[in-house]
Amino acid sequence: MIGTVAAREYTTLMRDGRMKLTVTIVLVMLFVALVSAVQRYRDISEERATSQALVNAQFAEQGAKNPHAAAHYGIYAFKPVTPLSFFDTGVSSYQGVSVWLEAHKQNRAEGRPADDMTVLARFGELTVAYTLQILLPLLVILLAFPAFAGEREQGTLRQVMSMGIRGRDLLFGKALGALAAIGTTLGPVFALGVLALMFAPDGLSYLPHAISLAVIYGLYAVVFLFLTLAVSAALPNSKPVLVAMCGFWAVTVFVVPRLAADVSRIAYPLPAAVTVDKAIEADLQNGLDGQSPDAVVGQRREQTLTLYGAERVEDLPINFQGIVFSIQEQLGNAIFDVHYGGLNQTLDAQQGVHELLGLISPVLPVKLISMELSGTSLHHQASYTRHAEAYRREFIEQMNQAITLNSKPGEAEYRAGPELWAAVEPYDYEPPGFFSSLSTLGPSLMTLFLWLLAAVTAAVLATRRLKVTAG
């Protein structure tokens, strides 16, 4: 029975002239988004790879230098782009794409693409994900709002019910028919997207991500579909159904995400860059726990002298200056960990607000899941900057050890050569894998599941006792 209902619903929907406008808009937007994204992805991924190779080469070919000068010269770590970033740019436009790794300092990422975007980008960046997040629900609503209420107005609902069909069968039949209609419309775009992914370098390893994304957006459509069917079954006429669902769509898709941003900012304010920099500067001068950097260096000097049984630093077989640099780095790193750790906690807390408000807007969990699987989330950025910082610490330590072990005490004119630069592993970053991404998505997946449960339950309850006549 469900099959018959579905088949009839499908045929009716595919013939509905009212849908043509929205379907055309959706398809045009998806197509433009896809084509421009593929183009951009190719340019950007090439450029990042070339630039990384260039700075790696610049470092390797810097000529004879004191290792500390090389540490100051530093290396740039560029954030590589994942193939699915063409599908969903997530928050990547609003984050720096390179970090300068140098001695003494943990720099923040710089070169934010948003600074070079037009002011119209603030209306929303056109990507496939953005189009789906905004338009998929509207498409579903416009498709499904007359499902019960419209038939009720035309009197066909009475006829159908008089044939003894159960409300639940009618519900799932109509849902299936509507999903088939959406599938027919959007299926080719999905196929095109997968095809584009196949041709992207390293694209195949993102197939699990792509399939998961398809499932997530499918569930997103199902949530709106069952909500619309529930309202269509509950309200007497199709007009109030349309008004109510369009209102719900506008509020959940446009208002709540912005509200989430403002609520999170007010609930968990971030310090200004100048405040953070001043605090770090003060800690670097005074030490973290009241122990001044000079005192730590003095202590280590005594220990080292005792260890080698020497009277003076000049008598040591190693260059103590290298150890001083290392101590400074360790002290600095502890300070950076405190301040940037605090910042990251605030960012997490802010994201928590978006996760929580997902309970009143299904687009929020979908957005968070989508950008995570596309490699353009906050979590991915944090992973990239963490990796870059770990690399910085290791590379600076290599330079400091070279001073300690290879030069004589007080030998400022010591020069290291290409062997030392070659000993530094070229910077290379692998984004977190599929399961690492999944592991961060607990709250969002749970919220989406709750929405699904609530929507289906509401629809089943609303169709349990269907009124057959319009009010």
């Binding site: 988004a33 610049q58 794409v97 975007m117 419209g150």
Partner: protein, 473 residues
Amino acid sequence: MFFRVLADEWVFLRTSRMWWAALATLSVITIVAAFVGSARVQQLDQLAGGLNADEVMLQQTLKAGVERYEANPSGDPPSTMNAGALGLSLLAHYAVKPSTPLAPLAVGQSDLAPAYYRVTAHAAYTFLNQIEIANALNLAAGSFDVAFVLIFVLPIFIVALTFDLLSKEKEQGTLALVLAHGVSVQTYVAAKVTARALLIGGLILIANLAAFVTIGADLTDGRTLLEAALWIVVSVVYGLFWFALALLINSWNWPSVTNGVVLANLWLVFVVVLPAFINIGATLIYPPPSRVELTTELRQASKEVEEEAAEAREQYYFDHPEYAEGGTPDAFYFQVLATESAISAAIAPHLAEFEEQARKQEAMISRLQYLSPAILAQRALSGIAGTAQRWYDDFNAQVLAFHQVWQGFFSERILGSIPMSAASYDTIPVFGYRLPASRFTVGQTAGPLAGLAAFFLLLTVLGIRSAARYPAV
């Protein structure tokens, strides 16, 4: 007859719960948005106020040290008398853009563009690219400001209130009933529409006044009053555009539900699709140069300049053997200035390319903005609030000009080896933001407002002509 119908309509609407609910909801969300905006601007003002206070304290401390030395000069002069040490290491001046009175109403570009720069005697490229700490998730989502409520949410209210303006009467059979009383269709429709247009205008006015009160705008100030008036005019014309659009759709005699679907799609086209397409078009036709490439070019330029500088340094020491032993501080600062100015010259063409592309994108958008009333409203409102890109471009130009003065002050003393006396501390330049004249605001608003008015008039004329032929049955 017109006024009779108008009066009847007025009584009907005055008692309509739906309209009161709309007014209440719109006012509440506008107040929330204004409150959020106030909090945001206050935070920024507080930060900016603190920046200059810290600086004044530091300068006074340093100056006191110099005064002590001047009163009793013995031994080497303190480093705080060295212009190089001061300009290139100890001192910085925060150039701050104070917030404009209506800034809480529209975030505009204020969450991306810096409202302050730490100006030093170093080259401009060293401080221009600073990024404020922010959560990218929030930046990408955008803000819930009053401009958003007016541009995105208000049309939904208007459409919801008017999509079945005529079709409903027809569907319920009341239209035929009214016309049977001898009222002409034109008079009836005109009165009905006028009553609703007045109400919508009132709705927007009240919501905006509530917003002005919430942010504590001082409307006794002439400039603020002018801006507030412009703000109201833009939002009312924008709101009436949506009303006229709903009216036009109504006049085509479709069922209410079809009107609703069509209007929802038009909302989508004007508010979502056109901005997105124009944005992507401008980006594809005038792509911004790559920041990543700029980074590597800056690095390459530094490397080359430093290698040349090393040669120059050797030449310098050849000429001044007395400095070769470790060099003097002045020689070092001299070198820093020379190196940075060479790097600036090397990257200047690349930076100019960024500006050029941004200028072309802006030119294209300012032509295509006339396709979408939502874009027109966004540009007008952020222009009035003082948070549009042009305000930040103007601020950046002021900062760059000030940087020249500041750097000139120190480099003159560095190059001339002139010590910084206590008296010269008082002549250190101070940045004063020059608020652009009100014609700057009016200039940014005039085009978009004219565009909005044209949209409104066109639709009204079409709507009236089409409604006059509205079949009663």
